[in-house]
């Protein structure tokens, strides 16, 4: 607790606090000589700006909040890097929170962020209705949604075309000759879950395949869920010949379960995943998947947010939908 203040520096350097402040903020109208002296004193005394004090008068913290479901879902790390690399250019940092898809946890985190006076928020909302976000809007704190959309609140949004991506995945399976295609869905109620399910359904309909409720199982967006769901599918009298796993973690679960069940991929059953994995080609067999530009989602969201903070953005809220791509490897 050295606690050197701007006043201490001022006294030592024989100038006024405001002059020290000017030097620190890099204002130009300070005599070079004075400036040098102040800078020396700053260094000598080990002075460090107090961000809280500055924040209180500038009404700006140079901090944004980032709320996601779970950093240990492999979907997020690169997205976070996309955010970080972008905001760093603007001298911003981020407070990171995980919600675990629990909306009460989410609300607690958002409350803290509000109190810490984040300048902006990037959020993957737990559900389309997050009443608390109203408070951000009221205070003019810009919000950018990632991955999922939100209702009733003005917010930019960056995501991918889930319906189309899922459609492409299932279409791929169908063209390979599959008719009994199962889907393992994520947590109910989340936008992405719904959209991917829709894409699945659309593809079936488009190719005249009747939907079978028994082939639609919930995997809760987790490895365990993927394992359980896959095992369930193979308890059916008429098991599927192909599985569309609609997220990352569940795909890993599916692979694990299939190995346990001694089912060979793709001979016994084809598997296609939503979300590519960095190590997808080292899987057994290499995974065919719908790939999302995760880094770009993050960087785009951050850019949008920074534009808002600099009041440079377009007036209208943006809705940016990035493209997915089908990466064909050997699991189908």
């Amino acid at each position: 607790m050295t606690g050197v203040t701007i006043r201490d520096v001022a006294k030592k350097a024989g100038v006024s606090p405001s002059t020290v402040s000017r030097v620190i903020r890099g204002e130009t109208n300070v005599h070079p000589k004075t400036k040098r002296r102040v800078l020396q004193t700053v260094k000598k005394m080990g002075y460090f700006l107090d961000g809280s004090a500055r924040a209180i008068v500038k009404k700006q913290t140079k901090t944004i909040g980032v709320s996601i479901s779970d950093i240990s879902n492999p979907f997020y790390p690169l997205l976070i890097r996309g955010i970080e690399n972008t905001i760093n250019k603007f001298d911003y940092s981020m407070i990171l929170c995980n919600t675990d898809e629990d909306s009460s946890k989410e609300e607690r985190h958002l409350k803290v962020m509000l109190e810490k006076r984040v300048d902006g928020l990037i959020i993957a909302p737990t559900n389309p209705q997050v009443p608390f976000l109203k408070l951000f809007e009221e205070r003019g704190i810009p919000i950018v949604c990632i991955d999922r959309a939100i209702e009733n609140v003005e917010a930019d949004m960056v995501g991918v075309d889930n319906v189309h991506g899922a459609f492409a995945a299932v279409e791929h399976l169908i063209k390979l000759g599959h008719k009994r295609i199962a889907i393992i869905t994520g947590i109910r109620g989340i936008t992405t879950t719904n959209e991917r399910l829709r894409g699945y359904l659309d593809a079936l309909k488009r190719y005249g395949i009747k939907k079978d409720e028994a082939l639609i199982v919930e995997g809760y967006s987790r490895i365990e869920g993927g394992i359980k769901a896959t095992k369930e599918l193979f308890k059916l009298k008429s098991a599927p010949t192909a599985i569309f796993s609609s997220n990352n973690l569940m795909t890993i679960g599916t692979f694990i379960a299939l190995k346990e069940l001694k089912k060979s991929i793709p001979k016994d059953v084809a598997v296609i995943g939503f979300d590519d994995l960095e190590w997808a080609e080292t899987l057994d067999p290499p995974l065919t998947a719908v790939s999302q530009p995760t880094y770009t989602i993050g960087s785009t969201a951050a850019q949008l947010l920074m534009q808002r903070l600099l009041k440079e953005g377009p007036k209208k809220k943006q809705n940016i939908i990035l493209k997915t791509s089908l990466v064909v490897r050997e699991s189908c």
Copy 2:
């Protein structure tokens, strides 16, 4: 920008600012009736505490800094969760920064954290000498190192026994009959790299195997590096029969390279990795690896830090070394 202050609430509720402050902080010596009235007004006016203002007088931000090399390294996500889950219990949040093993980037981040007045720091230092950390020490901001140690600064440390873990890995290989064992090392200069290399060397010596410099290659702790290093090894006149990959990302690289090279694991070459992967059993073949308790590293570090912040910790700096475990699957 609603900007409702404690004074606004006070006026509306017909009390003094200090009373409002008392209610907000949950002080008990406030008349229940007054308390209720204030609480109502707070809610009605949409008042929200200003954390910066509080921080400035309490000299406490309830925020810690977390500096790691790269969140997209699969080693970190669970570790971060360990930290978060722990600090959340104490109403703390974290500012997360990635250094990419670049010490100048690290210093910039640390400077910002100092300015944002983090109460504590958890860091995986880029190298054993981070002069900037001296400034944290001077200000009495507790530091906990994870994964790697630091010199010249008082700091707690939580890590694993890298020497022993590496020794066990190589020993496993030797007992399987291997004599030409290669190691792919991480970035030079980092503690973990050195320690794992030492474990490798120790094991060779212990079992009377002469070390061959050609079998020690650098993989720079990245997937690309692992690929390159593996390919180099197979350009040798006398290629290794086993590879010890000393980190996560490089192991993935090794798998990729071996597949390209059409080498079969473990028939043509055995592979053992340092760092387990959540999806290790879905690899082709399932990976044998030295597993680290990543979540526990994070939670332990956070607990230690919280103890320091609550001034409850032991006086002496702690050095907690957790155990690794060998998970035998099918790649050896």
